[in-house]
Amino acid sequence: MFEGWDAVVLARAQFAFTMSFHIVFPAFSIGLASYLAVLEALWLWTGREVFINLFNYWLKIFAVAFGMGVVSGIVMSYQFGTNWSAFSDKAGPVIGPLMAYEVLTAFFLEAGFLGVMLFGLERVGHRLHFFATLMVAVGTLISALWILSANSWMQTPTGHAVNAAGQFVAADWFKVIFNPSFPYRLVHMVLAAYLTTALVVGAVGAYHLLRDSHLAGPRVMFSMAMWMASLVAPIQILAGDQHGLNTLEHQPVKIMAMEGHFESHKDGAPLILFGWPDQAAGKVRYAVEIPKLGSVILKHSPDAPMAGLDTVPRENWPPVPITFWSFRIMVGMGVLMMTLGFLSLWMRWRGTLYESRLLHMFAVAMAPSGFIAVLAGWITTETGRQPFTVYGLLRTVDAASPLAAPAVASSLIAFIIVYFAVFTAGVIYLLRLMAEPPHHGEQGPGKEAPARAAGITPAAGAAAEGAAR
């Protein structure tokens, strides 16, 4: 079986599959860790019970999501060696230290304080517990910093040399870490994580408001989430635009693929809204385009010339249809998020934020939009880097392990079966936790069983919570 298959294609499929499953969990837990820190700070500051209820409510969800992120993340850290050993050998001296720093500064910090954060509130006191929460939140952000630096170096490598063994080595660590696309990618990804979380929190709040618009917890979380959506979504679109301009400067071929610019345009490139990129024919079929707008957006001048893929050897073309469409899906999600944010501002101004069923249904429908945008965005940037692993320097076919196709096919099938079985169950448990509204006297992961035994019913809890406001 699988003898006729291409081992490199299978390895790429396996990396894409395991990475796509992994990325949604950190994207969610980066934002959620920060949200938990904010909730605990608000509780310590104001003493209002609703904040500790929300904290404990989201903490249980965080525990499950974080666990899934950890186990799927360990897979990633070993897959560089198992499936991309030539890359590990050649780029290890540059990429390896960045990832080692991620482990040392971020993973240990998160893991070391996670236990106290989850189970330690009554053992260490409020202030020390808040410190633990803060360390977990900071850890998730430091982790994003290092891994995005490593990824950005693969996109826009700088500060390196090549040694006698053919390995990339660092000539200037500062230039390696702060490579040209890193700041843009970092801002874009962290904002994406915050938005992803805000949209989930907002959707859960909206779901419970649809059933009872007087519940204190859902009102607070919905309001907070909608502030995030209305403020951060427009900033994210600006950050994305800046990231795009940076990509145009350093990875112009990726932009050509994203825009579907097979042909060069001497006097102003159109903006192709939709169409079907035909890689073999080298043109976009059924294109719906706005003349000159492409040059306006990317060069800020309607007549600016734009080179197309016809200036690039075909063997260096990325897969255009995937890059083109994943980019449009991401942008579409961003526009919908901004629409939701502005709609919420309008309802807030009218005083119907907690009553508008239309807004709540829209927010519920938007629950997965952050995840979709994150996945589409990563597919855009990673596919757009192809056919290279280290852009312009190391081709993907030269980066793979010397493995036979049957080995990779077997592991790919194993990953597919295990991930669907395990993570489907995990998502069901998460949805089950979210389907319950936060209760009065909500308990964290440590104490929920005794609290339920104490007989606090949801209805009584909600009433007490309402009275407490």
């Binding site: 060696g81 198992t82 290890g92 230290p97 080692a100 996670l114 392990s401 010397p402 069983a449």
Partner: protein, 335 residues
């Protein structure tokens, strides 16, 4: 005798990270292996709760071992990982099942049994795979230039199966002595019983691996049995005998806190034995630590981080253990 240069320092750092992993995740995985012997839900809750706050930190050392190796010895990482492809993938999948079981089993009543099985199956698979990987490394790996040159079943030999089974026994012993330390009453008494049985099994496993290893390669024989090396290597088996006596005594006198640390000492000695066998190779008989080392500026760049951060990490990890110190009471579960 051992030169103090960057690759040697890094070899010790990576060895340290892997050892801390073996020590800390060893008892977590051991608990998973022993889970079927404790069928009562209350016991299982206590067992889970005894490691729930710390398992994630324990597992992070595995990421440091792998990530650190890629950074400090990229060639070794690039050769070993494809050579150990199947055991590595099996370990990762085992750790997925084991890891999610910690959270999932508290989220469902109907399917709890399913996640308990996943906890045991995952722990067993991950342990077996780690032990097999160790055996596969010791028996040697075919290398051509900078690339692994063997097939994808080379790792499977009677010796690697032996090391796999040995590690299962070893982790189970760590798990049993951990329970002796962290639990009370009937649960603790049963853990004592298991510790006895597992200690004898462990001694048998150490003996079997020690006898089999010199037959793998002449380097191992010379390292251990040829004069004057024997002056340096003889203390290891003598220390194993000494620790065994102390461990038997602590089990007989029911000193709750001693057996776990003495079992760790047995692990440390076995681990030192492995180091003596392998040094200075990182891929036995093929690649030395100097051949595999990344350039000095990569190793120096990370050394600053390690020097500052590892003590800090050990500090707050110790604090986390201190917060959750003492016996785990059934009613005061963290979950």
């Amino acid at each position: 005798m051992i030169p103090i240069d960057l690759p040697t320092i890094w070899a010790f750092i990576i060895a340290f990270a892997v050892f801390v992993y073996v020590v800390m995740d060893g008892f977590d995985l051991g608990l998973g292996i022993l889970f079927p012997l404790f069928p009562r839900k209350e016991d299982r809750d206590v067992i889970m709760n005894s490691v729930a706050p710390v398992w994630d930190g324990n597992e992070t050392w595995l990421v440091l071992g792998g990530g650190g190796m890629m950074a400090a010895f990229p060639l070794a990482y690039a050769v070993l990982m494809p050579a150990l492809y199947t055991p590595m993938i099996a370990m990762l999948l085992g750790l997925v099942f084991r890891g999610v079981a910690f959270e999932f089993r508290w989220r469902t009543t109907k399917e709890r049994n399913k996640w308990d099985i996943a906890f045991t199956g995952g722990s067993l698979l991950a342990t077996l795979a780690q032990g097999i990987a160790l055996g596969a490394i010791l028996q040697g790996i075919r290398v051509d230039g900078r690339v692994y040159a063997g097939g994808w079943w080379d790792w499977l030999t009677p010796f690697s199966i032996l090391t796999g089974v040995a590690l299962v026994i070893g982790y189970a012993l760590l798990g049993a002595t951990w329970l002796v330390m962290k639990t009370e009453g009937d649960l603790r008494d049963r853990a004592y019983g298991l510790s006895w049985a597992l200690l004898f099994a462990m001694l048998g496993a150490i003996g079997a691996v020690s006898i089999a290893t010199p037959f793998l390669h002449v380097q191992y024989t010379q390292r251990w049995f040829v004069w004057p090396n024997i002056i340096l290597t003889a203390p290891v088996p003598i220390a194993v005998a000494g620790v065994t006596v102390l461990l038997l005594r602590s089990l007989a006198h029911k000193y709750d806190y001693q057996p776990f640390f003495l079992a760790l000492a047995l692990f440390a000695l076995s681990y030192a034995g492995l180091g003596i066998s392998m040094y200075p190779y990182i891929v036995p008989q093929s690649i030395t630590i100097w051949q595999a080392a990344s350039p000095a500026n990569s190793q120096i760049f990370m050394l600053f981080g390690v020097a500052v951060l590892i003590p800090l990490i050990l500090g707050y990890t110790a604090w986390a253990y201190w917060v959750f110190r003492g016996k785990v009471k059934p009613e005061s579960g963290y979950h």
